[in-house]
């Protein structure tokens, strides 16, 4: 990504020079030092419903929340853990004890001192099921915290957990002011002065349905190890304006009403990518692919041959290319290609094998055809329903599925019935385990946690159905912290789910950002894949 950014900068600088046409000194400060001061306005696609990092489940809320909420551990672009609110840590040989040295001299923006006691209060709070936080999911192994001294805390686990540092790096375990957590009956979801962290910005103004603004925290000096600078944020002020319509975001940027937008519509990419005056960037992809999860318990997809035929019965490369015009990559595996655990052996190993798919269906007994050309068996049409919960449909993913549907009908006579359903209906099907195909993508996190969600019996798709789950492999990947052993377990999971076609990866979604060339320091947060907070941003406006 950095390279891409450089290229964009060079292109922009070249244009500026050409425009100057032999002027003595280029006024463009692209290569200059970051400037402190000024303000920027974002145009973002989603207005968060909850601003509490420990409760929000909305991927798009996190880039905003990160401005005031910080985690104990950071994670850099290579997947390495870096200091953040914790300076260093030691893990015992049995993997059950984590000793964290906390950064000294940090205060919450309400003046409360950040210390081991504050960390304990936070972890105890999110780990308690009675508080029903989103963070609880990662802390099921957590056995308790002991304050050693003001800046040392000892965390105990019930079983070794290779994903524990990832949990500490997650925004859901961000540390909030104990004074805020102590507020009775206050969920801290509202964007107001009760919501206090240690971050580089302080919430200054919020108008529901319109925008949220932050001012710089002048005393800030606890930047994560992966940040581009230390000390206070460059910007004095940053505003996030909620513009749910993609066309409106594009227009607002091109008419200079905002400086930077997120969620660039595919068809608008050409307006900003490689265009003078603009910078266009895409984030990494380390979460799960946008994929079809096929319920192996529901006929006719309980037959592995039917699932494999579905997997190979269409030309995915062409569909993704036509739809996204090269802005995203076609997927081969369940986790993103930018993850260190991505199984490269899967590349080009499956898909677009129409003859093979037809043979499989013949073999499975779907040999007759009905009037519309669909295969039948015992008078039943070969139909597989895809229930796509309406609120999750975005980036024209439903259109992509319709493309798959059309090809499957044409190529192998399979009726993939793509339906848009309510989230309530999906929840109901989930509870009864009657969902048939669930299209989804999970935001990035440690693959153990991702796989547990969608392939494990503690997850939501195969809840309490260990006979259909991959619990052993998932446990194996989590019990060791030796990277090669973890990779072996992850590879086996990635291959298993694609081989038996319970999981058909389609493409790797990425965050897209476009800005004017007066905005600098754009980056993406590795634990989220989404744009980072505005900490490293600066402007030459």
């Amino acid at each position: 990504m950095k390279n891409q950014f450089r290229i964009a900068i060079v292109a922009a600088a070249t244009f500026a020079l050409t425009a100057c046409a032999g002027g003595t000194a280029a006024t463009n400060t692209d290569d200059g030092d970051p400037v402190t001061g000024g303000s920027l306005t974002w145009g973002v696609s989603v207005e968060p419903v909850c601003y509490n990092p420990q409760r929000s489940g909305q991927q798009n809320s996190f880039p905003i929340i990160r401005n005031f909420a910080e985690s104990l551990v950071g994670k850099d672009a290579d997947g390495e853990y870096t200091p953040w609110l914790a300076d260093s840590w030691e893990i015992s040989d049995d993997g059950l004890t984590y000793d964290l040295k906390l950064r000294e001299g940090v205060t919450f923006t309400d003046g409360t001192v950040f210390d081991a006691e504050a960390v304990k209060t936070n972890l105890d709070f999110v780990a308690d099921p009675a508080n029903a936080t989103a963070a609880g999911t990662g802390l099921t192994n957590f056995a308790g915290a002991t304050v050693v001294d003001a800046n040392t805390i000892e965390l105990k686990l019930e079983t070794p957990d290779a994903a524990f540092l990832d949990t500490l790096a997650s925004i859901t375990t961000a540390i909030l002011s104990p004074a805020s957590l102590a507020l009775e009956g206050n969920d801290l979801c509202a964007a107001n002065a009760d919501l206090v962290g240690t971050g580089p910005f302080i919430l200054s103004d919020y108008q529901a349905g319109q925008e949220i603004s932050f001012v710089a925290n002048e005393d800030y000096d606890s930047a994560p190890g992966y940040a581009a600078h230390t000390g206070r944020a460059y910007l004095d002020e940053v505003t996030y304006r909620f513009l749910p319509e993609a066309t409106v975001r594009t227009g607002a940027l091109s008419s200079n009403q905002v400086d930077i937008i997120e969620g660039v519509q595919v068809t608008d990419t050409a307006l900003f990518d490689d265009q003078p005056g603009y910078v266009y960037e895409t984030g990494p992809s380390t979460g799960t692919a946008f994929s079809l999860n096929i319920n192996t318990r529901i006929a006719p997809a309980d037959d592995v041959r039917v699932r494999q035929a579905l997997r190979d019965g269409f030309d995915l490369d062409a569909l993704v290319e036509n739809q996204y015009l090269g802005t995203v990559q076609r997927a081969f595996s369940s986790i993103g290609p930018d993850s260190p655990f991505f199984d490269a052996d899967l590349v080009d190993s499956w898909g677009d094998d129409v003859d093979g798919a037809n043979e499989l269906l013949d073999e499975a007994g779907w040999t007759d055809r009905d009037g519309e050309g669909f295969r039948t068996k015992d008078g039943e049409r070969l139909t597989i329903v895809v229930g796509y919960p309406e609120p999750y449909i975005r980036d024209q993913r439903d259109v992509l599925l319709q493309g798959v549907q059309a090809q499957l009908k044409e190529n192998i006579g399979l009726n993939l019935d793509v339906q848009s359903i309510t989230s309530a209906q999906f929840t109901d099907e989930l509870a009864k385990a009657t969902w048939s195909v669930y299209p989804n993508t999970l935001p990035t996190s440690d693959p153990s946690i991702l796989f547990r969600s969608i392939f494990g019996s503690e997850g939501f798709l195969y809840a309490k159905a260990p006979e259909f789950a991959l619990d052993d492999l998932i446990a194996q990947s989590r019990a060791t912290s030796v990277a090669s052993e973890r990779k072996a377990a992850f590879d086996e999971i990635q291959q298993t789910v694609v081989d038996d076609a319970r999981y058909i990866p389609l493409y790797h979604p990425v965050y897209t950002v476009a800005s004017t060339d007066l905005v600098h320091g754009i980056s993406f947060e590795p634990t989220l894949n989404s744009p980072s907070s505005s900490y490293d941003l600066w402007t030459s406006k």
Binding site: V49, G209, Q210, L243, Q425
Partner: protein, 323 residues
């Protein structure tokens, strides 16, 4: 008007306001509100999906669902929940949003004025525009009239969403006259108001023109003209005044249209308002918020129809005799 004056002088003094009518309307209004929230409550219960499951989302860990159920009182029977809900309503408590985790009253109060501002200004602009369109076109050649009514038809039938985007493209992105988003100052109100006012204007203009044309054939207009009153005065004072009476009947529908259109307009322009809230609440099965919005809409309907009813009796003396 002379006729009206004469009538009041011959009638016994009963005051201007028909109190009995008002009281009946208020009682039936309360009934409407109760029916609306009750139907909405049980309809929402019938939608598939357990609320605790929805609130948990994709999170699963032991004890989570039970904690959520206990937190929101979902472990009680539906009827108990309904009684508790009614009890809360009577004490003026709208409850707490499941999703936003804030008191519903706060959630709505923060946004409702923005929608009211938008709807009221758009309503006024729409009405004025409608009157202008109708008065300008009446009595003109067929070509002018059909051009006008085609324009009105376009106003009413073009989707709000599309109009909004089009106005933005031209006036905000291209000419940069008005800002795209926000509720800061009058500039940011212009485009949303125009977007919302156009369909209202188109719809009302058609009704007003037709009604005026009918009024112009009435015998009293002949009398007025015979007195030598200027034609513009005939149109504006006499024909328009009478023609507005049937328009009042349509005000309820117009308000419904304005509120419905506000949902889309707010989304396109990134404006705060109850439209955005409602949309999110319905998809997330956020029952307390949906109920509050239903209550709000029903309340507006009841108030408007009551006020209109009273206005009728004031404006049209014939109704008063029928009491």
């Amino acid at each position: 008007m002379a006729i009206a004056l004469q009538q009041t002088s011959t009638r016994p003094k009963t005051g201007v306001l028909p109190w009995r009518r008002i009281l009946t309307r208020l009682a039936s209004g309360a009934l409407v509100l109760w029916a609306a929230v009750t139907i909405a409550f049980f309809t929402l219960q019938a939608i598939p999906g357990d609320i605790a499951d929805i609130l948990a989302g994709e999170q699963t860990y032991p004890g989570l669902k039970e904690a959520i159920s206990a937190e929101w009182g979902l472990d009680r029977s539906v009827f108990e929940q309904y009684l508790a809900f009614l009890g809360r309503l009577l004490s003026g408590d709208l409850g707490t949003s499941y999703v936003q985790r804030q008191p519903v009253a706060d959630v709505l109060a923060a946004q409702v004025w923005s929608t009211v501002e938008l709807a009221v200004v758009a309503g006024i602009v729409g009405a004025v525009l409608a009157v202008v369109l109708a008065v300008v076109s009446i009595g003109r050649s067929r070509v002018v009239r059909s051009a006008m009514s085609t324009l009105e038809l376009v106003f009413t039938s073009v989707p709000t969403f599309w109009v909004g985007i089009l106005l933005l493209m031209v006036f905000s992105f291209q000419w940069r006259l008005f800002p795209v988003a926000g509720a800061n100052g009058w500039q940011s109100l212009v485009l949303p108001v125009v977007t919302l006012a156009l369909p209202t204007a188109g719809f009302l203009a058609q009704v007003i023109r037709e009604s005026m044309e009918r009024t112009l054939t009435e015998p009293f207009i002949v009398t007025v003209r015979a007195r030598g009153v200027a034609e513009s005065l005939v149109l504006l004072r006499h024909a328009l005044g009478h023609a507005l009476l049937p328009v009042m009947t349509l005000v309820g529908g117009v308000i419904g249209g304005l509120l419905g259109g506000a949902v889309i307009t707010e989304t396109v322009f990134g404006r705060p308002g109850i439209g955005t809230i409602t949309l999110g609440a319905v998809t997330g099965k956020d029952i307390p918020v949906v109920m509050a919005v239903v209550l709000f809409a029903a309340l507006i309907y009841v108030v408007v129809s009551t006020v209109l009813d009273i206005l009728y009796t004031i404006v049209d003396p014939r109704l008063r005799a029928q009491r």
